[in-house]
Amino acid sequence: MTNKFVSSVEEAVADIFDGATVLVSGFGLAGQPIELLNALATQGARDLTVVCNNSGSGDEGLARLIRLGRVRRLIASFPRGAEAMAFEEAYARNALEFECVPQGTLAERLHAAGAGLGGFFTPTGYGTALAEGKETRVIDGRGYVFEAPLHGDFALVKAQAADRWGNLVYRKAGRNFGPPMCTAARTAIVQVAHAVPLGELDPEHIVTPSIFVQRVVVLEGASTTAREAA
C-alpha cells in the first residue's frame, strides 16, 4: 500500500544532504513552506544551492537558512524586499553566490527539468546583461536565448491538501512555483494543512498528480489525520 505521509517535518527533511540543490516554493510568504525550511535549518545540512523566487523574509524559513550560513548559492528572480535583510547582509559580506534569473525563465527552467527537456529558447532577456555568455539564436526574425533545465535534488513545497498517494491541491495564489518544482525534483517534499482520504479529491481538480510527489507531512494533528486518511 502506498502511503507517502511521514509523521513530522523533521522526518520529512532528514535525508537532505550537504551540497544538495533544494527548490523552495512560494512568492513572498504565499506558498512558502516555512515549517519545512525551519526543520531544515535545525537539521543542519549546509552548502545548499537554493532555488526560490525570493530570498525569504524576517527571521524564519529561507531567511533563517541564509542567516545560519547554510546557503552557498541562491538562484532567484527577486531576492530584494523590505524584509530581505538576511539575504542583503549575506550578499554584502560575499557569504553567498547569487544568480539572478528572470521569473518566467526560472519557472520554465523548472518545467523543462520536470518534463525531460534539454532546455529551451526564450525571447526573455535577449540583448540584456542576463543573456551575456549564453547561446542565442534568431528564430523567425526574433532573438532568443538558450536556457538550461534546472533540476533539484529536493523540492520543499507548501500545498493545501493531499491524499496518501500524494495527489495535491493548493490554496489560491499560494500555488505559484509548487507544481513545476514538484516535477523538477528527485524528491518532492510537501507540507499540507489537511490530509484527505484517497478518492476524496475530485480527479478533475487535482493540480499536482501523485507521481510528482514523494513525501507529504501534515502540519496540524499530523499523525492522527494522516493515519485516518491512510
Binding site: 504565499a30 527577486f78 539572478c100 521569473q103 523548472l110 540583448g127 540584456t128 512555483f177
Partner: protein
C-alpha cells in the same frame, strides 16, 4: 504655469486608455496604482505574475487573504470568473503573447523603445529582475508609467538608455507626469501634454528629440 500630473493622475490616464475587455498586467511600483481607476461596469481582466487572472483591488473593509497578493506582495482579491494557476502557466500567458497590455514602471526609455527598469547598475547591490524581462517581451502592448525626469532633473526619455536594459524595442507608449508619448519608428511622438506646457518646454525637459502632431 504648468502643474505636473500626480502619480494618481498618471494612473488615471493609463486606466482611461485601456479598452473594456482587455487583459492587462500591472507591474510593481506605480503601475499597481492603475487598478482602482477602472469602472465597475468595465470588464478589464487583470493578470498578476504570481498566478492570478481576474485580480481586483480590495473593497473598503474587505479582509485580506495572505494567499491572494499582487506582484508587489500587497493584498488584493479575485473577481468573479477569476482563476489561479502555477507560475509556468502564468509566464506562458506573458511570453506566449496572450496579454493585451502590460504597464511597467521605468527608469529609462529610449526613442527606439528600449526599456531599462530593473537595475541601477550599482556595484555590490544584488540585481532583482522579477518578471520585468518576461513582461517586456511578452505583452502585445507594453506601456511604461514613470516620471519624466529624475530627481536631479535628468530626462528619463533618452536617445539611448544608459542603464542595464530590460528589453529591446519593446515599449509602445510612455505616460509621464508631463506628457503621453508613443514610440513610433524610432522616435517619441507626443500624444498629449499637461495644460500650460509648451512644446519647447517639453523638449527642454527631454533628452530624446520629440515629434509633435
Amino acid at each position: 504655469m504648468t502643474t505636473r500630473r500626480t502619480r494618481e493622475e498618471m494612473a488615471q490616464c493609463v486606466a482611461r486608455d485601456i479598452p473594456d475587455g482587455s487583459t492587462v498586467n500591472l507591474g510593481i511600483g506605480m503601475p499597481v496604482l492603475v487598478l482602482p481607476y477602472w469602472q465597475a461596469a468595465q470588464e478589464i481582466v487583470v493578470h498578476s505574475e504570481n498566478g492570478i487572472l481576474g485580480m481586483r483591488a480590495l473593497a473598503d473593509g474587505e479582509a485580506a487573504d495572505p494567499d491572494v497578493l499582487n506582484a508587489a506582495k500587497q493584498p488584493v482579491a479575485l473577481e468573479r470568473g477569476g482563476a489561479y494557476f502555477h507560475h509556468a502557466d502564468s509566464f506562458a500567458m506573458m511570453r506566449g503573447g496572450h496579454l493585451d497590455y502590460c504597464v511597467l514602471g521605468g527608469y529609462q526609455v529610449s526613442a527606439n523603445g528600449d526599456l531599462a527598469n530593473w537595475s541601477l547598475g550599482q556595484p555590490g547591490v544584488a540585481a532583482a529582475v522579477g518578471g520585468a524581462m518576461d513582461l517586456a517581451v511578452g505583452a502585445k502592448q507594453v506601456y511604461v508609467l514613470m516620471e519624466h525626469q529624475t530627481r536631479e532633473r535628468n530626462s528619463r526619455l533618452l536617445r539611448a538608455c544608459t542603464l542595464p536594459l530590460t528589453g529591446l524595442g519593446c515599449v509602445k507608449r510612455v505616460y509621464t507626469d508631463l506628457a503621453t508619448l508613443d514610440v513610433v519608428g524610432g522616435a517619441f511622438v507626443v500624444r498629449d501634454m499637461v495644460p500650460g506646457l509648451t512644446a519647447t518646454q517639453l523638449q527642454a525637459a527631454t533628452d530624446a528629440p520629440l515629434r509633435f502632431l
